[in-house]
C-alpha cells in the first residue's frame, strides 16, 4: 500500500502491547485499519535441529519447552508418533491420565485467555478474577506432576505419575468449583454491556474467509466450522467419552470467547468421565531405546488448534527428522481479514482473540526485497550458506 492518504504504523517487534516479539505493519486511514502486513520470524530457536541431536526420550523435555502453556499436548502428540513407530499400545490407564492432563491444560490455557481478553479491553477485574480461578487448575497440575508449568507427565510408553484416590477426589471437587465459575463467566461475556460493547461485531472472520486462510481451533469453530480433532480424528480414548464439539457462528470476538468458555465445560465433563472410566493398572510399558526405521505423523487438538508432528527414524536412538506444525502459524494469517476496516483501538483485542503463541510460530524466512519473493529455507540451504 503506497496510498498517500495512508499512514503506516509499525508495531513491534518489541512493543509494550505485545507480550512476544512480532512485527505488524499497520496501514491506517485516520483511525481505521486499511491493511496489515504480518511479519514473523523474531523468535526462531532452532528446536527441530536440536531434536535430532538428542535421544527420543531426551527430546520429550525439549519438546515440552516449545510452549509453556501447551507443554503437555506437544509431548503427547510426539509420544503418540514415536509409539506408532515402535508399534506399541500403551496401557489404558496411561491413556486416561494423558487425556486428563491434556484437558487440564485446555482449562488453564483458555482461562488465561479469558483474563487476557479482559485485560485487552481494559476490564482488569475480569483479568484478575480469571487468573485467580485459573490457579485452581494450576494447583492440581502441581500436585499431580510436581511442577506448575512443565508437567513432564508423558513418557514414551505411558505416563510417569499416577492419580491417587485422594487426588481424584480433589480433582472432582475442583471441577465443580470451576464449572460454577465458568457459568458465571459465560453470563458475563454474553450479558455484561461493558464487555459486549467491545466484543460484539469486532474482528469479524466470515466462514469463507476462515476456510480461505485455513484457520483452525477455537478461531475456526467461532466462525461455524467444525474442526475439533478429538471428534474428527479421535486419538487416545476420546471416542469412549461423551462430549460435544462447540461451534458458534457470530464470527466475532464474542463468539470466540463463548466457544472457548463452553469448550471448558466440555473439558470438565471429559475429566470426570476419565476419572470414572479409569481402571487400576500399569502406567507404562517397557519400550526399546532404538526406534525401527520408518516415518509417521501424529495430530492432536491443542487449546489453540491442531498440532501436527512428523517423525522420521533411521533405526537409531535419535530421530532423523522431527517436523512440528503449530496452531498459531495457521491462525495468524486470518488476522489480515479480521483487522481490515476495524478501529486501531480494537487491534489488541482482535490480535488477542486468536490466542497467539508466537514462540511456536516462528520459522526462518528469507525475503528478497527487490522482487518481494520470499522462501522458507531448509537446513541444507543454511549449511550451504555456512560454507
Amino acid at each position: 500500500m503506497n496510498d498517500d492518504t495512508c499512514y503506516t504504523l509499525p508495531l513491534g517487534p518489541q512493543h509494550p502491547a505485545l507480550v512476544e516479539p512480532e512485527y505488524l505493519n499497520i496501514h491506517l486511514d485516520g483511525e481505521t485499519i486499511v491493511n496489515v502486513d504480518i511479519n514473523i520470524g523474531f523468535m526462531h530457536r532452532g528446536i527441530e535441529k536440536a531434536l535430532q541431536q538428542r535421544t527420543y526420550q531426551q527430546d520429550r523435555f525439549l519438546i515440552e519447552k516449545i510452549c509453556g502453556i501447551c507443554s503437555s499436548i506437544h509431548t503427547l502428540t510426539y509420544c503418540n508418533a514415536v509409539e506408532k513407530l515402535l508399534d506399541v499400545d500403551i496401557p489404558e490407564r496411561a491413556k486416561y491420565i494423558r487425556m486428563i492432563v491434556a484437558e487440564f491444560e485446555r482449562l488453564h490455557s483458555h482461562m488465561l485467555w479469558v483474563g487476557i481478553a479482559g485485560y485487552e479491553i481494559g476490564f482488569d477485574t475480569v483479568f484478575q478474577m480469571a487468573w485467580r480461578d485459573r490457579e485452581l487448575v494450576m494447583e492440581l497440575l502441581e500436585d499431580l506432576s510436581g511442577n506448575r508449568v512443565s508437567y513432564s507427565m508423558n513418557t514414551i510408553g505411558g505416563v510417569r505419575r499416577d492419580i491417587s484416590k485422594d487426588m481424584a477426589k480433589k480433582i472432582r471437587t475442583t471441577m465443580d468449583k470451576i464449572d460454577s465459575r465458568l457459568h458465571h463467566y459465560i453470563n458475563v461475556f454474553v450479558n455484561d454491556s461493558t464487555i459486549t460493547k467491545r466484543t460484539k461485531g469486532t474482528g469479524i472472520l466470515k466462514q469463507e474467509d476462515a476456510k480461505r486462510y485455513s484457520a483452525i481451533g477455537p478461531l475456526a469453530r467461532a466462525s461455524g466450522i467444525s474442526c475439533d480433532l478429538r471428534k474428527k480424528a479421535p486419538y487416545l480414548l476420546y471416542d469412549t467419552v461423551d462430549f460435544k464439539e462447540i461451534t458458534h457462528d457470530t464470527d466475532d470476538v464474542e463468539s470466540r470467547a463463548i466457544v472457548r468458555l463452553k469448550e471448558l465445560l466440555e473439558s470438565t465433563k471429559i475429566i470426570r468421565q476419565c476419572l470414572h472410566l479409569m481402571q487400576k493398572g500399569e502406567l507404562t510399558i517397557k519400550v526399546p531405546e532404538t526406534v525401527p526405521e520408518g516415518e509417521t505423523i501424529s495430530r492432536g487438538e491443542a487449546p489453540r488448534g491442531e498440532i501436527f508432528y512428523y517423525v522420521r527414524s533411521d533405526g537409531t536412538d535419535r530421530p532423523y527428522r522431527v517436523k512440528i506444525n503449530t496452531p498459531t502459524l495457521a491462525n495468524i494469517h486470518p488476522l489480515q481479514s479480521m483487522l481490515k476496516g476495524q478501529q486501531l483501538a480494537d487491534l489488541p483485542i482482535i490480535v488477542a482473540s486468536i490466542d497467539p503463541c508466537f514462540s511456536c510460530t516462528d520459522r526462518v524466512t528469507l525475503i528478497d526485497t527487490k522482487t518481494g519473493i520470499s522462501k522458507t529455507v531448509d537446513e541444507t540451504y543454511l549449511q550451504k550458506l555456512k560454507r
Binding site: F61, E135, D143, G146, N147, R160, N191, T194
Partner: protein
C-alpha cells in the same frame, strides 16, 4: 454490569495471593526441587548422566567421581527415574538463588 457483585464481594474477601516470602508455601508431594544425593548409596553406574537431557551430570566410575551442575538442570526428574539405588532424588527446596557459582554444584 454483571461483574459488579464480584467486585463488591472482592472488597471484603481476603487476598488471593500468598505473602511469600513471609509465609512459605508448602510444596506438594512429588515436587521437583533441589536434588538430594546420597553418596554412600551411589554405585557410580552413570545411568543418571546418560539419561539427563541437558548433560549436566558427570560420573567417572574409577575415580568415584559424581557431580551435578544445578544451574543447567531443568528439574525434569529423569535422573531420579533411572537411578537403580534411589540415592538421587528431587527434594522440596526451591529457594536456590545464589551469587556464587559453587553453590550450584552438588557433589
Amino acid at each position: 454490569m454483571k461483574m459488579l457483585s464480584d467486585i463488591i464481594k472482592n472488597l471484603i474477601r481476603k487476598p488471593a495471593t500468598e505473602k511469600y516470602p513471609y509465609t512459605k508455601k508448602k510444596t506438594p508431594k512429588g515436587f521437583r526441587g533441589k536434588h538430594e544425593y546420597d553418596r554412600e548409596k551411589c554405585i557410580y553406574c552413570g545411568l543418571c548422566a546418560k539419561a539427563c537431557p541437558v548433560h549436566t551430570i558427570g560420573v567417572i566410575k574409577d575415580k568415584r567421581f559424581w557431580q551435578l551442575d544445578m544451574s543447567r538442570c531443568i528439574f525434569c526428574g529423569r535422573c531420579e527415574d533411572v537411578c537403580p539405588t534411589k540415592c538421587l532424588r528431587l527434594g522440596n527446596d526451591f529457594e536456590m538463588a545464589s551469587d556464587k557459582k559453587e553453590d550450584f554444584i552438588i557433589k
